[in-house]
Amino acid sequence: MSALSRKRLSALGALGIALGLAGAFTGYRANAQDIAITNATVATGDGSEPIQGATVVVRGGRIIAAGPGVPVPAGVQVVDGTGKWVTPGLFAALTGLGLSDADGIDESDDQSARGSPFGAALDVSPALNPLSQHVQVARGGGITRASVATRPAGSIFGGQGAIVDLGADPRMVVRPRAFQLVDLGETGARIAGGSRVAAHALLRNALREARQFGNEGRLTARGRNGEMETGDDIPVDLRLVDNPAERGEDVLLTRFDAAALVPVVNGTQALYVAVERAADIRAVLALKNEFPRLRLVLVGASEGWSAARDIAAAGVPVIAQAMNDLPSSFEQLAATQSNVGRMVRAGVKVAIGGLAGTTGDQPKNLAQFAGNMVALTKVPGATGLSWGEAFAAISSIPAEISGQGGRAGVLKTGAAGDLVLWDGDPLELTSAPERVFIDGVEQPRNDHQTGLRDRYRDLDERDLPKAYDR
């Protein structure tokens, strides 16, 4: 943000340059449409309940206005939304979107790297493929933005995740190196050598080495940062770009990994910590005593409800999978579908996310998961979410946790022009998006799945084989 402001000031008066920067900032596309959808049921994503008979206006790739009685400016294409719903695009927190073509095909799967000598230094950004079928399927399901991370495998650190948009264009990364991911639960313990004790020692050592490296490592002048893409990129530590820096001999981390953890330990980059058990959650919250600048986000937290007051008091947000209700592991004994509702009631900021697969946990099912949170409000003894809360948990809240508050996942003046026009209640199983806009650009709706659907609409091969049917 501050980097952008400085550039803006320096470019004062040079309108073209200023527009160019603004474009880079919002992801404005030359082919963005100015569009107004009128008389629709509108859910803004901010936690409020849906509004009937409302209008949403997108102009220059951004939301201009949303609500009842909003006037349609001249020159804007009007779409009648009668009987339809309009929402911001959904935000899928913690996915593998763009990192694989099919999970089980090792040759094409970049979601984890057990054999890599690096951990924290891994950066998903250069590996992302916006043409992956999973990106297209998720977009067809109304998801317009996501955070993407690699799973910890060879190291307790998964590496640096990115914020992306799912637009059908070559530029997928909205914000590279937006967060670091570490696993301190059973998985992390196994990777660390066999115990949680080992994982905590590894983490502490890594953060101390990074702190020391950040303070003492000699910066040299040969490294050069790339162009700023979004105006608020976390600047790459120059030692990551090039050149050695002096280090002591008693170190465990590679230089590359140590440099990658500098922004974590100094609080410029969020640290996502995957844990499920209540005791583990509290151990994570206690890390702030030793490393006060950590910006923690809890991931998983199946037993979060039983530590909800502590999480709320620490002001740490949570990305929860929401539907876990089985003791799938000994760290999830207290799992219940009421977890999210109970944490929200305790004052925790909770996003539904972590749908990183292609089975029941595919990102497209986010809306179904949110709908189930609403269903719980009718189950005696359960704690669910109101419709508005449930929808916020898959739109504005994951955007806020991802550092995109006010810019994504919400229909608010100035936010990205990500709109979804649904044929009904977006949380209902029978509904689906009819049109999807990202930064004001209408998105294509054909992918591998729709191609197969259309080819096999009938099984008629009287004239030619199916291979000619497209």
């Binding site: 089985l326 207290a334 199983l429 029978t430 689906a432 799945q449």
Partner: protein, 453 residues
């Protein structure tokens, strides 16, 4: 007492039927050894229930019928009547079900509960005897842990009253399946569905060739898969039955039509080859499981009377699932082929109703409108048929087992959940009564014990 007698009678009948087919095909002069075909018999007995009248609900009866403002009568563990408001309810406890929905108990044809139970730790990995590509001699029931908490979630959140547990898919022939009533019990025999036939799990494609190719042995290719399968069938047919052989007994049970084949198979071309192999060897495939490409051969599946047990929308998690599409169920239904929605998952089994709804909605968007009452048959009567228990359960028809779910709204809506579930007329889940929420041994004294889950 009356119920107990009925069930016991049924079990004896099934046993007698089995005895009649024992190795009658053997041409040897030495009489074959006698085989007890039910050595681990069901000890399940229905729990007591009161005569119940569910009044005023919308009924999807499982056979494809919808009845508004319906009356459903349960007595002595059986469906005693299904009709409109005119049905007399004297002598029954009345449940006001107006604004609610009633369906048959949900049936999952593909579950690994108990053989891959929660917590999913290494010590609980009992679903794949992955030491030999053909293990028709293993029986899933010998691996089942009845204390798997997954059973209770399937009941409370999914309304599941019957389910088939299969061995995994590492092997070409994975072993015998077992059908259970979703009733908590101290032993697996206490869960076994009385009178249900056995199934045999088979698997096509990537899994067997990967597992055994990875061990440097046959099969390591799809052609290897078929060669091993065919030779195994031929060897079983050549067995003279003089010495008991558990593997052969299962295979001969299939050839005799007593054991139903449940074949994990994703790709359309591979299913077509399996259909020919079955004809070559003289058996019938009941159901292709995980059949993500069934929509490419709906005609073939219809002609051969084979069901497809599928997910609503899983795709792209391995090469052979790359062509999965959400319209699969609807396209099959349009071809007149049998559709079953299955879970293969301890989470998915808790919302088969939701999965069926998504599959139907995908069809509607391409112009294939399938009535809600038909969609419910995908998770009730159709799986019952494919499992060979459709004469006993799977629909709300007089005389059938009173396996019934009362939903607090339309079961095809994301906002609905089971309110009450009866199994053989016994109320075994009631969302408003914490005493009627089963808790496994494993969960006693643990964090969250007895929670709503």
């Amino acid at each position: 007492m009356h119920q107990r007698f009925l069930i016991a009678g049924l079990g004896a009948l099934a046993l007698a039927a089995c005895a009649n087919t024992t190795n009658t095909k053997s041409a040897s002069s030495t009489p074959p050894v006698a085989i007890n075909k039910d050595p681990y018999p069901s000890t399940y007995r229905p729990y007591p229930g009161r005569p119940m009248a569910l009044v005023g609900a919308t009924v999807f009866d499982g056979t494809g019928k919808r009845i508004e403002n319906a009356t459903v009568l349960l007595r002595d563990g059986k469906i005693a009547g299904v009709g409109g408001a005119e049905l007399a309810t004297a002598g029954y406890d009345r449940v006001d079900a107006s604004g609610k929905f009633v369906t048959p108990g949900i049936i999952d044809i593909h579950s690994h509960l108990g053989v891959y139970p929660s917590p999913s730790i290494q010590a609980h990995s009992d679903g794949n005897e992955a030491t030999d590509p053909t293990t028709p001699e293993v029986w899933a029931e010998h691996s089942i842990w009845p204390q798997d908490p997954g059973f209770t979630r399937a009941l409370a959140n999914g309304g599941v009253t019957s389910l088939m547990i299969l061995p995994g898919s590492a092997n070409l022939m994975g072993g015998r399946t077992v059908t259970l009533k979703n009733v908590p019990a101290r032993t697996v025999q206490g869960m076994k569905f009385p009178g249900a036939p056995y199934g045999m799990k088979m698997a096509c494609g990537e899994n067997p060739k990967r597992v055994y190719g990875g061990k440097g042995r046959m099969p390591s290719t799809r052609m290897g898969n078929f060669a091993v399968n065919r030779q195994t069938w031929l060897d079983a047919k050549a067995d003279d039955g003089k010495k008991r052989n558990l593997a052969t007994e299962t295979l001969k049970g299939v050839l005799a039509g007593d054991i139903l084949v449940h074949n994990h198979c994703y790709r359309a071309d591979e299913m077509a080859l399996v259909i020919d192999m079955a004809k070559e060897m003289g058996y019938k495939v009941s159901t292709f499981h995980h059949a993500v490409e069934s929509y490419k051969i709906g005609d073939l599946l219809r002609e051969n009377g084979i069901c497809s047990a599928i997910w609503a929308d899983w795709y792209g998690f391995k090469m052979e699932s790359y062509d999965g599409i959400p319209e699969n169920a609807a396209l099959l239904s349009r071809e007149g082929a049998c559709v079953v929605i299955h879970s293969d998952d301890e989470n998915g089994i808790q919302r088969l109703n939701q999965e069926a709804s998504k599959a139907a909605a995908a069809g509607r968007r391409m112009g294939l409108t399938i009535p809600e009452e038909t969609v419910i048959s995908w998770i009730t009567l159709n799986p019952a048929k494919a499992m060979g228990i459709d004469k006993l359960t799977g629909s709300l028809e007089t005389g059938k087992m009173a396996d019934v779910v009362l939903w607090n709204g339309n079961p095809l809506s994301v906002y609905s959940r089971p309110e009450k579930v009866w199994i053989d007329g016994a109320l075994l889940f009631d969302s408003s009564n914490p005493r009627l929420r089963p808790v496994t041994d494993f969960e006693l004294g643990q964090p969250g014990v007895g929670d709503v889950k």
